[in-house]
Amino acid sequence: MSDLIDDPRLGENAPEFTVSEISGAVKRTLEAEFGRIRVKGEVGRVVQARSGHMYFDVKDERNALACTTWKGQVSKLSVLPQEGMEVVVSGKMTSFGGQSKYNLNVDDVAVAGVGALMAMLEKRKTALAAEGLFDPARKQALPFLPDVIGVVTSPTGAVIRDILHRLRDRFPRKVLVWPVAVQGANCAAEVARAITGFNAMTPGGALPRPDLLIVARGGGSIEDLWGFNEEIVARAAAASEIPLISAVGHETDTTLIDFVSDMRAPTPSAAAELAVPVRLDLLAETRAKGARAAQGLANIMARRKQRLADVSRALPRPDSLTQTAQQRLDHWEGRLPLALRSLVQKQQLRLTTSAGQIKPSALGRIVVQEARQLQALGQRLPAGLDRAALSARQMLRVCASRLRPAPLAERVARLRKDLDDLETRLEQTFERQLQRRREQLVACDRLRETLGYRETLRRGYAVVRSGQALITNVAKAEAAKSLEIEFADGRFTVGQSAAARPVGRAKPTPPEQGQLF
């Protein structure tokens, strides 16, 4: 290698190159000399440019090799280089004159060594598990009986044959095979595209969209199966809306797709078994169910029939149901006219009775009765009167008989006698009284005569008066026109004599008056 580079420096008198000339010469030399080579090393810094090109280094302990993968080549890489990854890169050596750099145009990256592969796989698994792609909740149920099965596998070889045989044995179905490379650089990309492609089909379209996918591959080395460990395959399987069975390698081989598939089959044949049930079993089961349904119905019918028969037996004869009622009806029916007749008769009787009572004759009878009663009373009236009169008369007679003059006369006589007695007593009493009074009068008069001024006059005293007034002193006597002097035997007037006469005439009066007292 170093010989080739040293070569141009050997000649002292070599012609001059322009930079572009030497650049072109180096490029041509590099490309011609090395051609397509494989380089093993550890991936250094990886840069994915916005343009889609990828730049990375592959290095060992001392040197580094610049690697370039163009945009179009990146998608075809089976393994995307990651920093720290032990890889074997394949490509052509070339140079980039603009920066005086040489590099390897990598069109394939392979993981170097089983240990490195497994380490990378673990890293991927961890990453995908962290995303939740292995979550059991994501697993879709397989259809019980898919109509169309999409198989992603190689169109040739034992795998597809096994699957088809097994399907045919169990339940022949429509099968769409999407041919893919099951190993090598194109494997992962083709498998991923097949899964996505099946999902992109529209149900009922020109190509029938499968309702179940089988991704299958026969056994092989880990490198052979590596395509199914690629992330793009795992992501395509995880994104599949169609339930997916993975059957890659033998039972002991586990690839990344097995973790994301909805069901993992240990072998392609097992995948076919998981995909469809056994038709004859189903047929037998269906028929058995049909028979059971028929038997069930027959049992129902038989039971109902039996029940009907039982119940029918228990059912009394219809006429027996009505007999009692009929009998009662007959009984009452017989009694009905009689009852009616009897009622009418009874009412008629009441009516007749009532009507009879309100006949004029009945009224007449009342009148007659009343008249008779009146008459009777009338007849009794005079008699009663007579009796009353008689009774009164008798009473009168009794009273009259008791009214006799004798008692009256007796009483008159008695009263007269009493009167006479009283009269006698009166006369006697009066006489006595009179006598007593007379005696009293005499005594009194005697006393009066004794005590009176006239006696005094007899003894020589006189009474002087002027008119009626007594004159008891000289003054009065001087004042008086005339004086009348009374003496025991009469009066004497001094002065006016004329006046003495009337007084004298009055002389007999006082005894008369005195007598009266």
Binding site: P143, F144, L145, P155, T156, I160, R161, L164, L167, R168, F171, P172, R173, K174, V175, L176, V177, W178, P179, E190, R193, G197, M201, L207, R279, L282, L283, E285, T286, R287, K289, G290, R292, A293, A294, Q295, G296, L297, N299, I300, M301, R303, R304
Partner: protein
């Protein structure tokens, strides 16, 4: 109407309903009229299931891909 519904059924759904019908009939506690209706439905379901099972035909085709790796059509596949 009901038959049209059955015709749309997947084998699995029809089978599940048939199972239900059979169970109900075997329990025997359905009304007589209902039991007949049930039985008829069960018979239709069974027929549908049988048809599904009999219609099992194998048809295998491989997808042909165009230059971009997109499906272009189908070709018979003879996998031997």
């Amino acid at each position: 109407m009901a038959d049209a519904q059955i015709a749309q059924m997947s084998f699995e759904t029809a089978m599940a309903e048939l199972e239900q019908v059979v169970t109900q009939l075997e329990r025997g506690d359905v009304a007589l009229d209902d039991s007949i209706t049930l039985y008829e439905r069960g018979a239709a379901l069974k027929a549908h299931c049988e048809a599904k099972l009999k219609s099992a035909e194998e048809k295998v085709a491989a997808i042909t891909l165009n230059g971009d790796g997109q499906p272009a059509g189908v070709a018979p596949l003879d996998a031997g």
